[in-house]
Structure formats: C-alpha cells, structure tokens
Symmetry: C2
Subunit: 331 residues, 2 copies
C-alpha cells in the first residue's frame, strides 16, 4: 500500500504538502502541486479513509436511513432524493451511503450508533412519532429529517412547504371555478392545515386516501365517480398513483382535464411531462431539495455545537401543462 509518505518522497516534498495539495486547505505553488499530483498518479496512491477520519476527528460519512426501502414500490422520488443528498454532501468531501434498516428490527439503528461509524444521519420517510428521531437526538448525533411529520417539527428538517404548495394549487383551481377539490394523499399526517386553506378559499376539500401505486391510481376514477361525484378537480401528493390514474383515465372514458382537472404537487417534472396529457404541477425539485438537505447536515456536522434546529421549506411555482378546465356550466 502506498501512503502519503511514498508520494512525498517521490515528489520530493514533505508529507504535509501532499496532504494540503489534496485538501486544498492552503495555497500551494503550481509547480509543486503539479509534481505532487503526478507522483500520486504514478504511484497509484489512494487516500486512507480511516486514517483521515481518525486524525481529523470526524467521520465524513453520512448515512441515509430510508424506511420501507424495499417494501413499498420504490418511487422515482426516492432516487432523486438519494442522488441529491449524495451530491450535496460529496461537494463537501463527504460520502453518502444508505444504511439498510429492516422494518421490524432496531438492531440496525443500534449498530449504527454503537459503531461511531457515521458522522451524521439523514432520516427519510419518517413516520409520526418515529423513535429514531428521539434516539439520535438523545445520543447527540447530527441528523436532519427529510420530510417532517408535523408542521411544528422541532429538529433539523428539510421539507416541502405543503401549505404554500397547496395554496398555489388551490388558488389556481379556484380561479377556474372549481368548488369541490379532491386531495390525493396516502396518509393524513400533515393535513392539519388543509382546513384553514380550504376556508380561506371558500372551497370544499375532500381527502381521498389511495395507496401510492399504479394500481391505486387505476381504481381512482371509479372511486371518484362513486364516492365523490361533486369533485371536479384533484390535487395529488402521490406520484405513482397519479401516473396509474392518468393511464387508465381515457379507458374509463374520462377526459383530462375537461372532465377532471388534476394538479400534481409531489411528482417529479420528468414524470409529469411523460404522462398523457402532461400533468400540470406545482414544481417539485426533489433533487435540489435533497441537495440542500445534505448541505444542511454538513453544516450541522461542522458546527456540531450549539446552533438551534432549523427547518428549510421548499415550495415551487405552478407549471401549467394541461389547461385546468373551468367547471362545466351544466353544474
């Protein structure tokens, strides 16, 4: 194994110079830098992660804990989130890895804690009263939650600003005369503000609970017909179900958006433009949001002392694709 010392000898500089070339933490003349870089290449030197972590007193590894990674049909959104986090932290020299957790067992979390392996954690898909939140907090491990469970979440988090997002979507629908709007969700944890928003716009909101799967969406039009006949527009928080719904819509003779308008508020743009018709959305840039989440975690890790918990909320602008239709006069 080649070490920093070998490289130093080869380049004819001191060991610390090699380190500083690699870290960029002090200025180096172009000449020596070039020589060092060359020596690194010819020697095939690879830095030793463990030594760096030990000497630096910090673990530059960020672990992502994703609940239900394999038990729910994985949405593309998870992919965008992971990619964003990885990019967000690796820009600061950190590595992002996924720490596998089985759903019915806490030993995974334990072993993470006990190993002192990870310098920080990002919790994804947290449920209400998720024990891990308390645990990491108590153990004083830097962590950020991506997607909070309560509006007044008291720890570091990054999430969409659901309230703003809904106002954007609803105000657009209200402008077009919709009075009964269905809201597609798969759990009701974060819907506390909906009433307030609804009354502000003098609209009736109907919470519709379907699983976020293509099949869940495929059943939707009959559910609406049977149970929510007054609904003329949908705001959807579900990506897979929305796509499944749109695919089946014309089969069941439902025209989008003439018969039913739909706005996706939690769907990637690549997904929204791939549907037929393309979906009107409130922009959801999961990648950027996750990247910011990664950066927040790095900040937290680097000022591990003090600094109050902060929340970062992400909204997005309206992207009109299929025109949202006015409610028919016949109504």
């Amino acid at each position: 194994m080649t070490t920093r010392a070998d490289v130093a000898k080869l380049a004819g500089v001191s060991e610390s110079t090699v380190s500083y070339v690699l870290s960029g933490k002090r200025s180096i003349s172009e000449k020596t830098k070039k020589r060092v870089l060359e020596a690194i290449k010819t020697s095939g030197y690879k830095s030793n992660y463990a030594a760096a972590a030990l000497a630096g007193g910090n673990s530059k590894v960020v672990t992502m804990m994703i609940s239900n990674l394999f038990t729910t049909p994985s949405s593309r959104i998870n992919g965008a989130l992971v990619e964003g986090i990885v990019d967000g932290v690796s820009a600061h020299g950190y590595h992002g890895v996924i720490w596998p957790v089985s759903d019915n067992d806490d030993t995974d979390v334990d072993s993470l804690l006990k190993s002192n392996f990870s310098g920080g954690v990002i919790l994804m898909n947290v449920k209400e009263n998720d024990q891990r939140v308390q645990l990491f907090n108590r153990e004083n491990i830097p962590f950020v939650v991506l997607g909070r469970t309560q509006v007044d979440f008291a720890y570091n988090y990054v999430d969409r600003d659901f309230r703003e997002v809904e106002i954007t979507a609803i105000s657009h629908l209200v402008d077009f005369g919709h009075e009964h709007i269905g809201v597609l969700v798969s759990n009701f944890g974060l819907t506390s503000h909906l009433k307030e928003v609804a009354s502000k716009f003098k609209t009736k909101l109907h919470l519709i609970d379907v699983p976020n799967t293509p099949e869940g969406g495929a059943n939707l039009s009959s559910i609406i017909r049977d149970k929510y006949p007054k609904v003329t527009a949908i705001i959807s928080f579900l990506d897979a179900a929305t796509i499944g719904f749109l695919e089946k819509a014309h089969e069941s003779g439902l025209r989008i958006p003439e018969d039913l308008s739909i706005i996706g508020v939690n769907i990637l743009e690549t997904q929204a433009t791939a549907t037929l018709p393309p979906l009107t959305t409130v922009l959801f840039d999961a990648y950027e949001m996750a990247k910011s989440c990664g950066e927040l975690l790095v900040e937290v890790m680097e000022n591990s002392k003090a600094s109050k918990p902060q929340g970062r909320l992400w909204t997005g602008e309206l992207k009109i694709r299929a025109t949202v239709a006015k409610v028919r006069d016949s109504k």
Copy 2:
C-alpha cells in the same frame, strides 16, 4: 468522548485488556471481563470505527452496489438479498451499507475506489459485460457478484443454479404431460443452457419476455393466448409479473392450474404463499443465498491473498402448492 483509556482506568485494567474483552481474541477471567463490561456501560463508551480500521489495517465495511435501485419497481427480492448480506457480514463484525450509484455516471464507483472506504464490495444486478467487474478486479478490491451474468463466470459469485432449478421445474411439468412450456424472463443473458435442458426432456421451451412488473404480468394471459397458444405451462423467473398475472388470471377467465400450470422459480416463499391459488415453486431462499454471499466476501477479505475465485450455486426443492395439472386430453 470516552475512549478505551477511560474505560481502562474506570475498570482498573490496562487498555489492551479492554480491547481483548471487546474482541474476544484472548481469554479473560470472568471477573475482569465483568468489570470491564460494567465500566463500558457506565461510561457510555462507544468504539471508534476509524481508529479500529486504521490500527487493524482493514475496513470492516462492505458496500453493496445495486444497479437500478430506484428505476425499477423494487422487488421484494432485493430486500431479502440486502438483509441476507447485512446479516451475513455483521456476524463477522462487518457493516453492510448500500453505495448509491446513479445509472448514468461512474463517479460513484470512482469515489468508492479512491476513498479506500470499503474493504469489500458486493455487486448486485450486474449486467452482461458490466465494467465494474473488470474494474474491481483490476484494482484488486475484494468483491463478490451476487447473480452472475454468464454460466462460466470467472470471478467470485453466488447465484442460483438455474440449470438445476429448471430441471426440477421442467421434469415436474413433463411428468404431467406438458409439451410446450413458456419460460418467463426479462432478459436473455442466462438462457444458453435452456436448449440443452429442453432437448434432454424432449420439450419445447418458449422464451417469453415481459417486464417484471405487475402490469407486465397482467398482460401475460393475452400474450399467451395470442402468441403462444400451445403453451400449457409456465416457468417464471419473475416475481412481480407472476403476482400481477395471477391476480388478473381469473378475471380473464383463465383457471390456474387447470388451464395453465405455473411454477415460480425466482419468487420468495412469502410471495408465493400470498397468491391465489398459492404458487408452486422451486424454493428460492434469497435471504440464505445472500447471507452466504456475505460470508464468502468476508472470507475473501480475510484471505485477501491468493485463493482462486469460487462460485457458489444454490438450488432448491420443489414446493407443490397448486397441483400442476395434466394436459387436457382434448389436446
């Protein structure tokens, strides 16, 4: 931060004794062991992963690289595999993490290599001519491939013994008089031996290519009716598609197994017993297979020298659930 030294002082022993209590690498009197363990608990000591890795000269982290983790509908099988690997390696004191790879970018693989972070790698969902295989081999990084791409794979691997599995399935079907058997696959990389098996049993095999999704399976019965009218039995390598198929089967008036017999050969038992009717399978214990894969990697890591590449093949016995029907006499 409490260190081993603190614990040693508290317990009134030397630092090395603490280490040996933890590692179990030499015998310790019950008395001191108890005292040390107690001191560990009261001091809240947590071992420092980086220091251990540096001093020990090895990284006890195993990274799993799973292609398309988020772009294919995640099958439960991946979950079982990951769980198996984690358990397999953690029994030997290793940590298993998932290293996220974006499908269109090699920088992830690079950064893994350059960081010297991982002591060993498990490659999953490898494609034919996967570049990573060559790369890890050249860089001399211990790795095992879970699911090979060729029958004569020249590196360490763990996989199902497809040939044996198929013989089990086919011989059962042949016993019941089936002469045209459809084989459900989503890629044709490993089908080279099928011809041989088919001729051995004087059976005609029809490769049927459907995506491994519930929707893919839902379309299957019409595909068979239209394109493969002679087929009276199916051997399926696809889990999600098979489940989708069975769900739709009776809707389309197809009786299982009377009209079409089906044997799942790549489906978890929990999935197979949840279908209606329960699926006849050739047992596929993904968890145990993956566990063995993790153990193989640990072996490779610990004798990093020499030792020729080895392959471990897993077969399974027939589990008859729905009786496989005899071909109708009318044929």
